[in-house]
């Protein structure tokens, strides 16, 4: 019973509360009450969907990773734009990427990153969380793409979720 009244995800609750204050026109009694109700209700309703938190999460590494991804998104968009506007046909390829990460949250961050960055879309994760299927828009060499993803994105995530 006590668990029904708690905040299972304190950071999510805080984010929801402050976002609600910014979204409403000025902070008032009503917006604070509604904000608390949302900050309590939404984590409670969605608690079954969240994976267990990882054993160690080094959150201070997240901003550097986010900046690198943001920069790569811009570079990737320019590359895709060049390819779309050039007359030659792209050389698409499906690639199986063997995962080293095992936490579900880390895997979903990695797949999202892959989808937003250089010429690749993460298409599927195998049921045993060991392989990702990647579709690459314009690939020369399978191994090169796997090595790039491993060095640039998976290593920092491994450091973050150990």
């Amino acid at each position: 019973m006590l668990d029904r009244l708690s905040f299972p995800q304190p950071w999510l609750s805080l984010t929801l509360f402050f976002t609600w204050q910014f979204l409403s026109d000025g902070i008032s009694g009503g917006s604070v009450v509604l904000g608390i109700i949302l900050a309590w209700g939404i984590p409670q309703m969605t608690r079954r969907f969240w994976p267990d938190p990882p054993a160690v999460m080094r959150g201070w590494r997240a901003p550097a990773y986010a900046l690198r991804v943001l920069w790569d998104i811009v570079v990737a968009s320019v590359e895709v734009a060049k390819l779309i506007l050039s007359p030659r046909q792209p050389r698409p390829m499906f690639i199986c990427y063997p995962l080293e990460l095992d936490h579900p949250l880390a895997i979903s961050i990695l797949v999202s990153t892959i989808s937003l960055t250089p010429g690749t879309v993460g298409a599927d994760v195998s049921d045993d969380n060991k392989l990702i299927l990647i579709h690459s828009l314009d690939a020369e060499d399978e191994q090169e793409i796997i090595d790039t993803i491993r060095a640039r994105y998976e290593k920092p995530l491994l450091e973050m979720f150990r």
Partner: protein, 110 residues
């Protein structure tokens, strides 16, 4: 409004519009579903992101505060674009959508 802000806003608007257009051209021009998936997830997301950032700069130089809505829209778009691309790719693999002849590698469906 300062000249610098005006230039920044105009350039961001034009870059955003160009990327949105390129994403749509990719959607219309590329040969199969999986290649078409790349245009909207990258070019269009960045294009709309640039337009929204220019709106943030515009209203903050007019002195109307920083827009939380704009920032929320951008964050939301960047978070959801890969998720919906992933869902659509799974659906396409399930339906065994045709790929172009020069595609290497195999899809799977589980």
């Amino acid at each position: 409004m300062s000249t610098f802000a005006e230039i920044a806003i105009s350039v961001l608007l034009l870059v955003g519009g160009a990327f949105t257009l390129i994403g749509a051209i990719g959607l219309a021009r590329l040969p199969d579903f999986y290649t078409r998936l790349h245009g909207p997830t990258k070019a269009t997301t960045v294009g709309v992101g640039a337009i929204v950032v220019s709106s943030v700069i515009y209203f903050s130089t007019l002195g109307r505060g920083i827009g939380v809505e704009e920032i929320l829209v951008t964050v939301f778009l960047f978070m959801t674009a890969p998720v919906s691309a992933n869902f659509l790719a799974k659906a396409a693999m399930h339906l065994e959508v045709k790929t172009t002849e020069n595609t290497r590698g195999q899809t799977w469906d589980q």
